[in-house]
């Protein structure tokens, strides 16, 4: 069952002062995996909780499946939520944890058991049904939380940074499993994270949030290649996009597009800059070059990322001619940070 979640003009203020969510309009697709991405305090978790019904909006509407659900308690919204800490009931076994939501639906014991076992089987935890949460590993707990969410046949899955409590190695495989799981089930999913790698890997679309507002919504490639403002540009991508002043604009280019002039080919113009390299880092086969370029009267720090295929020798404390191809340049207004029309750059 795939429904559409819609948020219209949503605002949530705390104590009249803190504007956690400051006017958000968002519509998911059916069965879509939408990621809410942003730094701490940007409002993504508050937005999620408002959709869940754990918070009531100060202004605006939440619609699930076309109906306005403002004022409806969480359990009436047919949603399921997985929390950062998984929120498993510590005094109940895995089986009891999974069947807990089913009791509200007045299913008989037999039916509850069957459903729970189906969900457990789907997530590969059938052998853990008699254990208590404190005897489970992080990954196992996450699966129990998912099974508990699954069992309700929800119309929407809400996930609040469920991977942050796993150690780095586990996170990659968990991410993969999560994505496959969602594609199997087909339920509309809204996923909150501050980790842009996770967002890029999981989302069908990413909504980048900052200071209570959505800055840009779009598929990962779009958000990466065509950021709507300087915040998105510098938040997405590791290392972040370089921003250099030029007149009343900021010119942005990604580190992997900032290469030795000789290597930058292609028809059309390219923008050359003298790049003074301070430091070279070797990371996973790439070389990260840290240095400065002149911008107006000052020098701006930039980073270049040379893939292993570029073998040009580079030494620290030396200046080289680097360039960016015109098609990789992005232009932003210096004051507002918003994306503006491109200007030709003379080489």
């Amino acid at each position: 069952m795939a429904v559409v979640v819609e948020v219209k003009g949503l605002k949530k203020h705390f104590n009249g002062e803190v504007h956690a969510v400051d006017g958000v309009d968002l519509t998911t697709g059916e069965g879509e995996y939408l990621v809410l991405l942003g730094p701490s305090g940007c409002g993504k978790t508050t937005l999620l909780r408002t959709i869940a019904g754990l918070e009531e909006p100060t202004e605006g509407e939440v619609l699930i499946g076309g109906s306005v659900v403002n004022g409806l308690p969480p359990r009436a919204r047919r949603i399921a939520m997985v929390f950062q800490s998984y929120a498993l009931y510590p005094h109940k076994t895995v089986l009891q944890n999974i069947t807990f939501p089913l009791k509200a639906e007045k299913l008989g014991r037999e039916a509850r058991l069957n459903k729970a076992q189906w969900a457990a089987g789907l997530l590969g935890i059938g052998h853990l049904l008699d254990r208590k949460p404190r005897h489970l590993s992080g990954g196992e707990r996450q699966r129990v939380a998912l099974a508990r969410a699954l069992v309700r046949d929800p119309s929407v899955f809400l996930l609040d940074e469920p991977l942050s409590n796993l150690d780095a190695k586990l996170r990659a495989t968990a991410r993969d499993e999560l994505k496959l799981f969602q594609q199997d089930i087909g339920t509309t999913t809204i996923y909150v994270t501050h980790d842009q790698v996770e967002a890029m890997g999981l989302g069908d679309r990413i909504a980048v949030m900052y200071e209570g507002r959505v800055r840009q919504v779009g598929p990962p490639v779009e958000v990466y290649d065509d950021p709507a403002d300087t915040f998105v540009a510098t938040f997405i991508g590791s290392p972040p996009m370089n921003l250099v002043e030029r007149g009343d604009q900021l010119v942005g280019f990604r580190p992997e597009n900032f290469l030795p002039q000789a290597v930058v080919a292609g028809n059309g113009n390219r923008w050359s800059l003298p790049f003074h390299v301070h430091r070279v880092e070797h990371l996973s086969g790439d070389r990260h070059l840290y240095g400065t370029v002149p911008a107006g009267r000052e020098h701006v720090r930039v980073i270049a990322r040379l893939p292993a295929t570029v073998t040009t020798p580079v030494d620290p404390d030396t200046t080289y001619e680097f360039a960016v191809h015109e098609r990789h340049l992005r232009f932003f207004d210096r004051v507002s940070g918003e994306r503006t029309a491109p200007r030709p750059v003379r080489d």
């Binding site: 019904g53 939520m81 950062q84 807990f100 009791k103 509200a104």
Partner: protein
């Protein structure tokens, strides 16, 4: 690294300790007693431990000794009399009455307390306007000195002046007076009432701490999982706060059965020892009656109860779920 030039004490001229000559760090600073942790730990503890041993452990042992003696305030000489005091106590119906009362009062008070305190704790945890005022008022029974709080009740339960009787008369439920403290059954009810009234705030505060310790996300999950008020209460909140409730109940029990003030001020144990409890009886025998030996013997019967309760508390604390 410059060496500090110390003033050479007369008589020590020429004698510089090795580590100073070596010219190392901070010459002139020697490890003193103030550093030696192996010594510091017991040293810091010593005053408190010595004091407690002197004024608690020793008197405790003394009490045991006294119970086997014939010490009175008038004749402080110590003579062994074996089990004579105990035999006398066992033959005294008032003793058995006190023992029974101690149990009954404690159990009934705690049963009432647990239910009322749990409800009160849930109220105090919620957010509402005037919360601070409510909290202040609700804590009054506990924070007021026992004797004074009991005095307030003494007036409320007085056979002539009782405002409670007056209110009941106004409503028409009553004709004449209820002798709250004059009739044995009612006197017992009164004592239990005052104990419960005093202890509920304390128990509520303890239970509050337990309620607050439940992570918010678990409450949120229960809301999402469809648990209404009662289901959440019985299936999530109560199981998770059980250990804390047990601690509160046990602590309250200890405070109730070791308390002599309420009974002493309210009824002096009357009418005719109907509300006598072990502590107040021990006091009346031991201090008022000046028979220290008997007083000690009676009081000592509290000890096994205490021990049982203490062990139970420790077990409950250990069982607090790792949340």
């Amino acid at each position: 690294m410059a060496l500090q030039r110390e003033r050479v004490e007369p008589g020590t001229a020429g004698r510089k300790p090795e580590w100073e000559r070596a010219g190392g760090v901070r010459a002139g600073v020697r490890p003193t007693l103030a550093d030696r942790e192996g010594v510091l730990a017991p040293l810091f503890l010593l005053p408190a431990v010595a004091y407690i041993v002197a004024l608690v452990a020793i008197p405790f042992l003394l009490a045991i000794a006294f119970s086997f003696s014939d010490v009175t305030a008038g004749d402080p000489s110590f003579d062994w009399v074996g089990l004579r005091n105990y035999r006398r106590i066992f033959q005294d119906p008032v003793f058995w009455q006190s023992l029974r009362n101690t149990f009954v009062f404690t159990v009934v008070s705690m049963a009432l307390t647990v239910v009322l305190a749990k409800a009160l704790a849930m109220v105090l945890v919620a957010d509402f306007r005037g919360k601070w005022v409510v909290r202040f008022l609700v804590l009054l029974p506990w924070t007021t000195p026992v004797a004074l709080a009991t005095i307030v009740w003494l007036y409320l339960l007085d056979s002539l002046y009782s405002p409670i009787d007056w209110m009941l008369r106004q409503i028409g439920l009553l004709d004449g007076n209820v002798f709250w403290l004059g009739r044995p059954g009612l006197a017992m009810v009164s004592v239990v009432l005052v104990h419960t009234w005093r202890i509920v705030p304390l128990a509520a505060v303890i239970i509050m701490a337990g309620l607050v310790a439940i992570p918010d996300e678990i409450n949120d999950a229960a809301a999402i999982d469809g648990a209404g008020f009662w289901r959440k209460l019985t299936e999530v909140t109560l199981p998770l706060t059980m250990p804390v409730i047990a601690v509160a109940a046990l602590l309250g029990a200890i405070l109730t059965f070791t308390d002599m003030t309420v009974v002493y001020v309210l009824t002096r144990g009357g009418p005719t020892n109907a509300t006598q409890v072990l502590p107040s009886w021990a006091f009346i025998r031991g201090i008022v009656g000046a028979d220290l030996a008997q007083g000690a013997a009676i009081a000592l019967f509290l000890f096994p109860l205490l021990l049982a309760a203490a062990v139970a508390i420790l077990r409950a604390v250990r069982r607090m779920e790792v949340l």
